[in-house]
Structure formats: C-alpha cells, structure tokens
C-alpha cells in the first residue's frame, strides 16, 4: 500500500478502491479488521461481552441478532461513537484509537446508519463532500469531487443524479448517496445498519447486487440485520449475537434457517406465521371503519381518493414503503387530521375529534411508540391513564385524578401483560421498546375495542415480543375486532392479514385476498407498477386458456 491511511482525502487515485485491489488480496491472508475481546456495559446491562471478530477484505459479514443483542453497540464501538470498556480494534495491522469517529474514518471505516445522516436541502454532490474539507480551506472541491464521483459511480454501478436535492430523492436513492459518501472517503470497511428495513423487495435486490460488486472490488462489508432471509442471501459469513455475546459464526452457504433462529433467540421458535389465521369463515361482520373517497394533503404527504372498509373479525393489511401516506392515513383515522374531502365513519359515526375516537373505543397501536403513543416525560402509571384521564376509574367527578386508581390499574396492566419495569412510577422512557409496546397493548386493548389500528406494531421488537404482539392481534380478531394492520414487513402482513391492500404515493389499491397476495405482486404494487400486475394476470389467464 503506497498511501498512508491517514491522508485518504488527498489521494488523487481515480478509484478509491484501487489501492485495495493492489494491496491485500480479496480473500484469505491478513484480516483487514480485527476486533478482540470487546466489552461494553451500560449501567448493569452488558451490551457487549467479550466479542471478537475478524473480517477479510472482499468479505460480506452479517451480524445477526435480535434487537438489543448488541449489534449496534458493537458497530458504534468500531465507528468510534462509543469507547469500549475493554478490547482492541486493529485495522490492517494498525491499532484504532478508541472513541474517535475521525480516526475510524481515517482508518477507512465507513458507516451507513439506519436513520440517514443527510442534509435534505443540499444536493447529492454537496452531501458527499460535506465534512471532507477543512473549515479553513477556501478551495471549492466540488468540481474535483464530481469527476471522482462520476468514475466511482461508473466503476461500481451506483447511479444517482449528483445535482438532485436529497429531499427530492426516494429512500432507496438516499441510501445510495450514503454508500457513495462512504466510498468517496475511501472506505475499506463498509458498515450498514439494517439497510433493508426501508427498501422494497426489488430495491433490496439492487442493493445486494451493488454490495456484491463492491465486495468483488475488495471492500469488506459488515451488515447488521435481524432479517434472516436477507442475511442468508447476501452474506459470506454470519455472526450471531445474543445478549451481548457472540454465540456462533457460520458460513452462509452452510447455514440453516432453523439453526440461525435457535442461535438468535436461544430456543426454537414455533412458527407464528402460518396457520394463525385459520377459521375465518364468518367474514360477513359489520363494517367497523369505513373511509369513502378520502383526500387530504399535509406537508409532503397526501392521500387521494382512499376508500377502504374494515369489517368485524377481519384483519386488513396495508403494505407499502414508508412515507407513502401511511402516517397520514393513520392520523385521519385517529382524528388528528381532518380530511379535505370524503368521509370517515367509525362504528357508523363521523369522526369529529381524537377524544371522540378514544371514547368510542378504538385500539390504537401507533408507529412511534415513545414519540406519539406515550408521553415520554411521564411515568408508567400516568401513561397508563393518559387517554382515559377524564373517566372513571382514573378520574372522579370528571376532573380529580384518583392516583390510587391510576396506580392500581397500571399494576394490573403490568402484571397481565408482563411489562418489565422497576416500579410503575418509573419514567416510561427508561423502558425497553418491547415493554413500552406491551404497555401500549395493555392500555389500548384493555376494553376490548371493536376496531384496532395497528401501525408498525412490531417494528424494532425482538422475536419474542413480536410473537406476543401477533398473538394479541389474533386474539382480538377472534373476539370479533376488526383490525387495520399497516406494516412494512411483508412477512408479518402475509402471516396475519385476511386481505392486503397496498398504499403507494397516497393511493390505496383494491385489497387482494391473501392467496392472491404474493411477495412479488405486492412488491410491484409497492413501487407503483400496477400495470405490470395487470399484465401478469392477463398472462396467467391466457396460459390457463392455453391449457
């Protein structure tokens, strides 16, 4: 290697990866990145417990584990966000100084965070060069950068319009910008945190092709994920974390799904998915929620002519890539946003306010647990009472809050739904995501609502908590509730729903019955290719005719 890793930005090399292919061979030989005995504790919680990893150039390693297994902590240590309590990291034989993202960048470690770190008002080009230049330098690096980026994009096959404002790009493109940013800084190790969470199946394929191409050029890739299918498809090697410990490493080619699951959660999980929605023949329940030609615009979100009806005893799934109007649809049903046109009827009555929706008895499991579902600064007990604060048992005479009753009810919730907290006076924000979700379920399902709106009910939860959420929903449906389930996780939708509709840019497709809804068909609808599905149908028909 001719260039010092300390000065990657000054390099004039046409391709930032070229020195790699000249240097360490793509596989075997000296490992590029070595982490030895990494430990990190937060309070009494051992987030990382003696983890050692090796990564060779040209290899795609996947870190698999449930939420809270310590994947992100480990990556944050590699990238210098956290300082490990013990352990060392070496990159290409050089020790990495701990706790400095600058040092990590200089050593060639680049990270694409789950939540992007892009400046929306700047162009792609500006985002890429942002931070690569000294504040005191007066030279404009953009012309230079443009040339380098063009060659880089040609070499690896990533296409983005360099002059587009980041705000105007779809999520998949933004992810490419993030990857370009890392490559531009001549990364030798690319870390991606949950990269597939926000992509449609087709976009995932694109990402995987790119990653393969990059690996072939000598880049080492670490992928953090809890999606088994993705992991098994893309990686060379899979490292499984559980409770902060490295419980196993397997070559992806030899990995079996069941083994991975067992390693991940420490026991085998009886499949929640299939056979859960049996016995739903009484499909002629009363409609509990009806939307007729609802149109509304709010900021950049919009809904156009959305009509949908949810009946008692059915689960209607809504698939879609996030940002296509799901949140707005939920807000309309919560009574937070008035539609510009059209009508919303809940149990046959028009919606006038959020309080009316709550009082009518609706289970609302919202997308953002701590930001919307719960009042972050308040205690577990206060949050248990927050939506029904004006009525008994929580309030007397309509205005005096009976703290004893609040605590008693909160304790009931805590026991029935196994909410783990030190005491019910504990601030809700200190609880883990799964426990917050359990408290939400307890609060929202306590009075057996006839309609439930579940928006991303299992996002970010571990397998055990997801199973619990699904059980609650299935149980509620058995008792006759109508459920609108919005999710970006197709497996979840297909496992639970009786029908699935797809939302794309504010328009809702007609619902597909579950046997018609395949991943590929939903995937096409999710990126707005409704016509191709029509073609597919016609093809099928003609084939049938041919037979």
């Amino acid at each position: 290697m001719t260039k010092s890793p300390n000065q990657p930005f000054r390099s004039q090399s046409s391709s930032p990866l070229s020195h790699e292919s000249k240097g360490t061979p793509p596989s075997g030989g000296v490992p590029l990145l070595v982490a030895e005995g990494i430990c990190k504790t937060f309070g009494e919680h051992r987030a990382n417990d003696d983890i050692s990893l090796r990564l060779a150039a040209g290899e795609i390693l996947c870190l698999l584990g449930e939420n809270g297994a310590g994947k992100t902590t480990l990556m944050n240590i590699l990238f210098g966000h956290y300082v490990a309590d013990a352990g060392t990291i070496t990159v290409a034989g050089q020790p990495l100084p701990p706790g400095s993202t600058q040092a990590a960048l200089r050593a060639g470690i680049g990270m694409v965070h789950q939540h992007f770190t892009l400046a929306g008002g700047l162009t792609v080009l500006e985002n890429v060069v942002l931070g690569t230049q000294s504040l005191w330098s007066l030279r404009d690096v953009r012309a230079n950068a443009r040339v380098r980026l063009q060659t880089l994009m040609n070499d690896v096959g990533l296409r983005v319009d360099l002059d587009a404002l980041v705000d105007t790009l779809p999520v998949g493109q933004r992810q490419r910008v993030e990857i370009l940013k890392v490559l531009y800084r001549q990364a030798r190790v690319l870390i991606l945190d949950e990269p597939t969470a926000i992509l449609s199946p087709q976009e995932c394929d694109g990402l995987f092709t790119t990653l393969r191409a990059l690996a072939a050029r000598g880049l080492a890739v670490i992928l953090i994920s809890h999606k088994l299918e993705d992991v098994m498809r893309i990686s060379d090697r899979i490292a499984v974390l559980r409770d902060g410990r490295l419980v196993g490493e397997v070559a992806a080619a030899k990995a079996k799904r069941d083994d991975l699951v067992r390693m991940m959660i420490g026991r085998s999980l009886t499949q929640v998915s299939k056979g859960t929605s049996e016995g739903n023949d009484q499909d002629t329940g009363e409609p509990v929620l009806v939307l007729r030609k609802v149109s509304v615009r709010k900021g950049r979100d919009r809904l156009c002519d959305v009509s949908v009806s949810v009946r008692q005893g059915e689960i209607l799934g809504i698939a879609g890539i996030s940002g296509n109007g799901q949140s707005l649809l939920a807000d309309v049903i919560y009574g937070l946003v008035r539609p510009d046109q059209g009508e919303v009827r809940l149990y046959g009555e028009a919606i006038s306010s959020t309080q009316q929706v709550i009082d009518a008895g609706v289970g609302r499991i919202c997308e953002d647990r701590l930001g919307t579902g719960m009042i972050a600064g308040m205690s577990v007990a206060e949050n248990a009472a927050s939506t029904r604060r004006r009525i008994p048992p929580f309030a007397r005479w309509g205005w005096y809050i009976d703290n004893r009753a609040v605590r008693a009810r909160a304790q009931d919730y805590q026991q029935q739904f196994d909410v783990r907290c030190r005491h019910i006076g504990q601030p809700i924000a200190e609880l883990s995501g799964g426990n917050i979700q359990k408290l939400i379920l307890a609060r929202e399902l306590a009075d057996q609502p006839r309609f439930i709106l579940a928006h991303q009910p299992s996002r970010g939860l571990d397998a055990g908590a997801i199973a619990f959420v699904h059980e609650c929903l299935i149980q509620a449906r058995k008792q006759g509730a109508g459920i609108l389930l919005m999710s970006e996780d197709l497996d979840e939708l297909l496992a639970l729903s009786d029908q699935v509709a797809v939302i794309f840019e504010g328009t809702l497709s007609a619902p597909l019955a579950r046997d018609e809804a395949t991943v590929s068909r939903l995937g096409l609808l999710m990126i707005g290719h409704a016509d191709e599905i029509e073609n597919e149908k016609i093809e099928k028909k003609s084939k049938r005719h041919a037979h």
Binding site: S353, G371, A376, S386, R389
Partner: protein
C-alpha cells in the same frame, strides 16, 4: 468531550445539588468581597442576620418574596406547558393598573369584598394581556418569547401615559403617580410595624392551589403532557391549542396578582418604579424551583433573602450594592449548572 445522561440519578444528589451550588456561589462571590476589601465571613454573617436574623428582617424578606412567588408561579406554569412567557413584568403592571382602576374610589365596598375583587381584576387583566401573544402563537406561529417580551415595554409606556395623564394624582405635588388605593382596598398587615401584608398568604395559597391543580387534576395533567410532548398529548386526545391557552391565561393571572399585591399591599399607589424587575426575576425563581410549583415558595424566599441581606450587607460594610445582584446571578447560574450535572455527566475522550 461530550455530555451523557446518567443512567441512575440518585435523589440525594438531586436534593444536595442546589445546596452545593449555593455554596459554590458564595465562595465565588467571596472573591469579589475580598477584592472590595472586606472579610467575606463577616459579610455573609451580616447578610444572614439582616435577612433572617430579626423580626423586621424576616418580615422584609417575606414581603420582598411575595411578588416573586407570584411571578415565579407565572413563569413555572407557562414553562410547564412550553409556553415561554417572558412578559411577567408587563402582566404585573397591567394587574397593578386594574387594581388602581377599581381600587381608587370608583367602587366602595367593605374590605372582605373589595380586596378579593381587586385580586380577581388583576388576575383577569394579566391573563387578558397574554391573549394577544397566545393568539399570535397559536394562529400564526409567532414566537411568544418575542411578543411577550416586547409587550413589557408597551405596557410600561401605557402605564407612564396613565400616571402622567388621566390618572395623575393632583395631591401628589407633581410626582408622576396615580391616586392611592382607598383604605378598604389596602391589604391588612400581617405583622405590626413591618411591611409584611396578607399578600404573602395569598401568594402561598396560590402556590398550593396551583400545585394541586397541576398534580391532581385533569387540567394539570393535560398542561404537563402538552409541555412534555405535544404530539403525544394530541394523540391521547388532548386539544393542544386549548391547553396552551389555558396555561398561558393562568400564568398571566398569577403575574397580574403580583401587581395587585404590590400596589394594594406595599406601595399604596401606582408608580413607574413599582417593580424592580420582579417579572424577570420570577423566571429565575421558576428555574431555581425546577418548575415545581411548591418549590417556587422557598426559591422566592431564598432569592429575596439574598437581595434583602446583600442590601443591608453592602450598607453596613460599605461595599457596592450591586454585589447583591452578582450573588443572585451566580447562585442561579450555579444551581442550574449543578442540576444539569446531577442528571448528566461529562465524558472526556
């Protein structure tokens, strides 16, 4: 270097932080006292004795604390709802105007009726003054820090016009002051030969009542929820705008009562120097109290003791009076810094 949240915050540390901070402020101010050529120990002894050591001193401290309790409550209630009311000073003066308008002879009634009436009028006036910034904020998203702050100066100019013009007392030998409050409207004294009046009890009563409302009623719950997380509050069915309006009106009412208590209890008539910035000091009181409505009372008494004591200290020891301001400013800063460090810690890397 970065700031991290402490995983566990011990109650002991939270309680002792303000005390440690006051100590730190005293030590820092000691440097200035030494510079002024006096012994800090003697100075502080003088300060404590003057503020708390005698019947007269204690009464003075409590009567100075009275408007601070009102304005402290005004700031704390508004801040709880994330409505940044910086206009306590203006609301205080408008409250005093209301008391002057009704209490200088237009109405005659026995004190049992007239005094509560004056407080209600002052509260209404203070609340109504905040209607303008509230409407601007909720309808047009105009920042209330700017509007409430600037209203202070408008109110002062209006007061200046009133007491130099239509309300000027012809008996005042040309001084710009309004007619005195009639005897039935003057707040009775709590202690003979001191300035302490029942306004102090009204202030403490307001603190207790507003604490009860904040902690135990649906309205208080909604105010706290909206202040902590407006989106989540809306999701829980609360009408965020309405809650903010209510909190703002209560806040204005508290500051308005401070004006009533000063005019009808202490001065007896309206002047332009009715308040040496009680409205602004109320913000410091509220911050010291950590926005806890009961803690506003000790916080106000603490600051008042420092002011009263430092005033006397500077007179007897012949050191500059502004040391009192320095001492108050330092203790507020030190306490705020300490409470932050009780919850967060610095990490050097």
């Amino acid at each position: 270097m970065r700031i991290e949240k402490r995983p566990h915050v011990s109650i002991l540390w939270l309680v002792s932080a303000p005390l440690l901070a006051s100590l730190a402020a005293l030590i820092l101010s000691a440097a200035l006292i030494i510079w002024a050529g006096q012994s800090p120990l003697r100075a502080y002894q003088e300060l404590v004795l003057a503020a708390l050591g005698s019947r007269g001193g204690l009464a003075e401290t409590l009567s100075y604390a009275t408007p601070l309790i009102f304005t402290g409550l005004a700031a704390a209630i508004a801040f709880r709802a994330k409505f940044w009311n910086i206009g306590g000073e203006g609301q205080l003066y408008i409250g005093a105007c209301a008391a002057t308008a009704l209490g200088t002879g237009i109405l005659t009634a026995p004190p049992v009726i007239l005094i509560p009436l004056l407080f209600i009028a002052g509260a209404l006036a203070g609340g109504i003054l905040l209607v303008i910034p509230v409407i601007l904020k909720t309808a047009l998203r105009v920042d209330e820090v700017v509007t409430t702050l600037l209203l202070n100066f408008i109110v002062l100019l209006v007061v200046s016009f009133l007491i130099e013009g239509p309300w000027r007392d012809p008996m005042a030998l040309g001084w710009p002051q309004a007619a005195p409050i009639i005897d039935e409207g003057v707040l009775p004294k709590l202690l003979d030969r001191t300035r302490l009046h029942i306004g102090f009890l009204v202030a403490v009563g307001c603190a207790v009542i507003s604490w009860f409302v904040m902690q135990r009623t649906v309205w208080g719950f909604e105010i706290r929820a909206v202040g902590l997380a407006a989106t989540a509050a809306a999701f829980a069915g609360m009408r965020v705008t309405r809650v903010v309006v209510i909190a703002a009106l209560i806040s204005g009412a508290m500051a308005g009562m401070a004006g009533v208590s000063e005019v009808a209890g202490l001065k007896g008539y309206m002047t332009l120097d009715l308040s040496p910035g009680f409205g602004y000091t109320g913000i410091a009181v509220a911050m010291l109290a950590g926005l806890h409505l009961l803690a506003v009372v000790p916080a106000a008494i603490f600051l008042s003791a420092v002011y009263v004591g430092a005033d006397s200290m500077s007179r007897t020891l012949d050191i500059p009076t502004y040391l009192a301001d320095v001492l108050v400013a330092l203790s507020v800063l030190a306490i705020l810094v300490c409470t932050v460090f009780a919850r967060y810690r610095l990490r050097f890397s």
